[in-house]
């Protein structure tokens, strides 16, 4: 691949602010951000005996600009996949290519942001020092670094706590500073390991909004989670893993589509109309499953209450609000 591609070219890998490295893989397809082939990871003991097969022959493709979810119960291989993609683990067999580079090549990290499951950060640093430190690791000049640090602190809403040591932070604040460090280099690809874990519903919503916003900015996001609702809310495509095997992969909407059923949603329909609708269904040979008022999700209810409380402090939420 040409190394002097124009900045407007989407296949170009050069980013001025961080002085990133040039793409070296001639087979690099800029629309395929992550590609794994037969990726397998077997954990062994000291004597080389197999302990567990954490990932089995995973074939995966993540495309540019999408939110890709890795879904599965604990121990299904989600985190192992992320670690293999980051080069934190070496594959037993198969290969993983990230942004056109071998996953073990450090150079690829120039264009990657990573939020680990527990936001493993240095607790003795404050938010500014943390982001400044990670900015230095991207070889960012001091001026660029200062601006970027302030911008990110504001973006994740830690302006008032930026001088406090991370050991004093709550779980939510730690996740936020963790996300900020993952974004310090304005990455093309963001890998999020359980991004909503430990967050309250409000924090979860903010995190999901942030993920969607990043996608809208053209970034590719890979997240792994076992919280199905989160994945459903934000992911464009998902891969479902179980005991190291890929069980299902595709677009969320098409995977969730129940082809044998039809859903009708209407507002201000009187109770008498329900009987009529049932009758029509029977006339067409259909089986009536349910004609009733839908319920909202608990998340929606909770967020509604919080928003209402913020708007009218001290007042109990009006029951009418719940139906919205």
């Amino acid at each position: 691949m040409s190394t002097d591609a124009a900045p407007s070219d989407p296949s170009s890998t050069s980013v001025a602010s961080t002085g990133r490295l040039e793409q070296t893989n001639p087979d690099y397809d800029p629309n395929i951000v992550i590609e794994t082939q037969n990726l397998t990871k077997i954990y062994r003991d000291f004597w080389g005996r197999q302990k567990v097969r954490a990932l089995n022959a995973l074939d995966l493709e993540v495309r540019k600009g999408e939110i890709f979810g890795l879904l599965g119960p604990n121990g299904s291989g989600k985190s192992t996949t992320i670690k293999l993609l980051l080069g934190l683990l070496f594959p037993t067999s198969g290969r993983a290519v990230v942004l056109g580079e071998n996953a073990t090549n450090v150079a690829k990290n120039e264009r990657i942001g990573y939020l680990p499951e527990e936001s493993y950060l240095y607790k003795f640093l404050n938010a500014e020092e943390t982001l400044d430190f990670y900015g230095r690791l991207f070889d960012m000049p001091a001026k660029v670094r200062r601006e970027r640090v302030q911008e990110l602190i504001e973006q994740v809403g830690l302006g008032k706590a930026k001088r406090r040591q991370l050991k004093e932070y709550s779980k939510g604040m730690t996740r936020r500073i963790g996300l900020a460090q993952a974004l310090i280099n304005d990455p093309e690809l963001i890998l999020l390991d359980e991004p909503t874990s430990g967050l309250d519903p409000l924090g979860t919503r903010e995190m999901k909004d942030m993920i969607l916003k990043l996608r809208d900015e053209g970034k590719t996001i890979v997240m792994c989670s076992h919280l199905l609702a989160d994945v459903q809310d934000v992911c464009d495509r998902v891969a479902i893993l179980f005991q190291g095997d890929l069980k299902e992969m595709g677009r969320v909407d098409s995977l969730l589509k129940v082809s044998g059923e039809t859903q009708i949603r209407a507002q201000n329909l009187p109770e008498s109309a329900h009987a009529e609708i049932r009758k029509i269904i029977e006339q067409h040979g259909g089986t009536n499953v349910a004609v009733e008022n839908p319920t909202t999700t608990l998340e929606e209810l909770f967020l509604g209450i919080v928003r209402d409380s913020e708007a009218r402090p001290g007042m109990r939420s009006a029951p009418a609000d719940k139906s919205s």
Binding site: L88, N102, A107, I112, Y114, Y120, F124, L125, Y134, L137
Partner: protein, 671 residues
């Protein structure tokens, strides 16, 4: 202080760099081989080849893309992390406590109190700093891996070199600051504890306190010992810092035309009728290697005497050693090691004093000096020669007399076939064993000029520098034994001219450079080992290497073998055969019974001995990096040796960074 090596940096550098490259190449090949084996075990032989070549292919760009900003970021983090662990603080507190209360246990009245103080601070600093270096380096990376904080670092474009180098530099910086602080405090500690003043014992601080010396016996009424030959009165000072001094008023008789002494110690000036002037001067007699400056104000018995601060504690003697030493036996034939006098014949070579039958002996030790120039000496009118000789008496002789030695100076012409030689008369001196004698060699020496054919050209008095050392600055000094049946022993370090002293504090700093070198190697070793070992194993490993490093010469001596592979220095064979002898209670002088068992033991010993030898090459020789003895004995640290120490340290740092890089790069961080 015994010096056996006189290295020159430039001469050392060539073979040194070859050895370094050799170790590097062997280490790399060995590392690749082990890496291939491990990889082949995991992935199969073909895939392993690919993995190893990939690591190698990525290593080169990794080194070239090492970013100073990232290294500094890692270093800054290492500093903050180490400060948070409070190891540095605890080290400093221990040091401060030792300094605060250490003075209680020091004997200021001992013979050389400065040696005790310097030894104490240097040893204490060395141990504390090395321990601190070990602790902060051993905990850092394993803790980062355990806490998984390293995940957020290695997922950035950070090379393993930067992680390793950053940590070494960060901890090194912290250690350097601590070392500087400790050095500064030590300086004040030594200075404050040794600095003292005395008063004259008695109600007045005047000459009236002095009592006359018995002119016949010349014995002190204070100490009962002989006083100086020209002493006329004496007094004693108050006891301070565990000692008191004897003061003397002595006569300094000079010609009336001669320049008077340019000192403030003149008590009285008496103009004689014989054209001579007698100056009565006061002096403070040295105790424990130091004295005090005497200042006299007024004249006669009412003259007030004031003693200044201590002089002589803080020295950095600059010895000018010869370039080569050659012995000649009694027939005049060259001999590398001098006359063999039996068991004592070791470090020193011996010069034969001849026998009753053959009184004339040509046996001598010839010291060849180069760059013998007056600018290297403190005073232009003489060159102080310091000798520390061993005496071997084959007969008791006159027990009240010391063995006499002879010194003879000789020029070394560039072209001996054409140029004349200056040869001095033999200057005799009484030898003193077990101590360093100072023999001031006057600038003017009586001697002769000899033509290349051996004929006498001229006799007279010639200049040591301009005639003997001549234009080429070369001078030969021959030491002979003037007593029959006696032998004088000397090594290269036993006879030297004493040049201008170096500043003590500069020398003190150089002593700390040695500790700094040791600290940096320990830190680098701790960081390199922590890339693949857990904290306890790192500490164990580094301590093991330290033990080998501090005892390199001992281990090398133990493992020294002859051409046939037999141990040279120890009886009873190698470690395993010695152990077998202990178990079976066999005599160390007897060979073990021949047989399969013995052969097995011998082979195992051979392996063990060679492993020990290999260890001494891999572990740094801390003795080479330790300049404490120079400071303790008041010698200037050899600049050449210091340069070598710094080069050795850099070589170890480079090697350990490489080792750390490959270990970290090939390690699965998240496993």
């Amino acid at each position: 202080m015994v010096r056996e090596e006189f290295p020159h940096f430039l001469e050392w550098f060539g073979p040194g760099i070859l050895l370094f490259l050799g170790v590097l190449v062997v280490g790399t090949i060995l590392g690749l081989f082990v890496g291939y084996l491990v990889s082949a075990f995991r992935h199969g032989p073909f895939e392993a080849f690919y993995v190893v070549s990939q690591v190698l292919a990525e290593a080169v760009p990794d080194f070239f893309r090492t970013s100073p900003r990232r290294v500094m970021a890692m270093a800054g983090l290492a500093v903050k992390e180490a400060m948070r662990r409070r190891v540095v603080l605890v080290t400093f507190v221990i040091f401060a406590l030792a300094i605060l209360f250490g003075g209680w246990f020091m004997d200021n009245g001992s013979e050389k109190p400065e040696q005790i103080y310097i030894n104490f601070v240097l040893w204490g600093t060395q141990m504390l700093v090395l321990l601190m270096g070990l602790l902060i380096s051993a905990f850092s990376l394993p803790e980062d891996i355990k806490n998984k904080t390293i995940y957020t670092v290695v997922t950035k474009p950070v090379r393993s070199t930067e992680i390793v180098l950053g940590r070494i530099l960060g901890f090194g910086f912290l250690g350097t600051v601590l070392l500087m602080l400790m050095g500064l405090i030590s300086f004040f500690f030594i200075w404050r504890n040794l600095d003292h003043q005395h008063m004259i014992e008695g109600p007045t601080q005047t000459v009236a306190e002095f009592v006359n010396v018995d002119a016949n016996t010349k014995k002190s009424t204070i100490s009962g010992k002989r006083v100086s030959a020209n002493a006329i009165a004496e007094a004693v000072t108050t006891e301070n810092n565990g000692h008191s001094h004897r003061l003397e008023i002595f006569e300094d008789i000079r010609d009336a035309e001669a320049e008077p002494p340019k000192t403030d110690d003149i008590v009285e000036t008496i103009n004689g009728d014989d054209g001579k002037v007698t100056y009565h001067r006061a002096r403070c007699m040295p105790v424990g290697g130091h004295t005090h400056q005497v200042t006299v104000s007024g004249t006669g018995s009412s003259a007030t005497i004031t003693l200044g601060p201590a002089i002589g504690y803080f020295r950095a003697r600059q010895p000018i050693y010869c370039e080569s030493l050659m012995f000649y036996d009694r027939t005049g034939a060259k001999s590398e090691k001098g006359t063999n006098i039996g068991k004592e014949w070791g470090r020193r070579g011996f010069v034969d004093g001849g026998s009753q039958g053959v009184r004339s002996t040509l046996s001598k030790a010839e010291f060849s000096f180069t760059n013998f120039e007056p600018s290297r000496f403190p005073k232009a009118n003489f060159a102080p020669l310091e000798v520390n000789l061993g005496v071997y008496r084959s007969t008791k002789g006159n027990i009240e007399e010391r063995v006499t030695g002879g010194l003879q100076f000789e020029s070394v012409p560039e072209n001996p076939d054409v140029d004349n030689r200056y040869i001095s008369e033999v200057v005799e001196f009484e030898t003193a064993e077990y101590t360093v004698q100072t023999l001031p060699v006057p600038k003017k020496l009586v001697g002769r000029i000899v033509a290349p054919d051996g004929s006498l050209v001229e006799e007279g008095e010639y200049d040591l520098f301009s005639d003997f050392a001549g234009s080429n600055g070369k001078l030969n000094l021959s030491l002979s034994c003037r007593d029959v049946n006696q032998y004088l022993g000397c090594a290269r370090s036993d006879v030297y001219f004493r040049g201008k002293d170096q500043s003590f504090w500069w020398n003190f700093f150089k002593g700390y450079v040695g500790i700094w070198c040791q600290m940096m190697i320990i830190i680098a070793m701790g960081v390199a080992l922590s890339t693949f070992l857990s904290t306890p194993l790192v500490m164990l490993g580094v301590i093991a290497i330290m033990i080998v490093g501090f005892n390199t010469s001992f281990i090398q001596n133990l493992a020294k073998v002859d051409a046939q592979g037999n141990l040279l220095n120890e009886y009873g064979g190698g470690p395993i055969s010695s152990f077998v002898r202990i178990l079976t209670q066999q005599n160390v002088m007897q060979d073990l019974e021949t047989g399969v068992f013995n052969t097995l033991i011998e082979k195992a010993d051979y392996l063990a001995i060679n492993s020990m030898m290999l260890l001494t090459y891999l572990a740094p020789d801390f003795g080479q990096l330790n300049f404490s003895n120079y400071l303790v004995y008041g010698f200037a640290v050899d600049d050449q040796q210091m340069l070598i120490a710094v080069a050795v340290t850099l070589a170890f740092l480079l090697g350990l960074v490489l080792c750390g890089y490959f270990c970290l790069k090939t390690r699965e961080i998240a496993k």
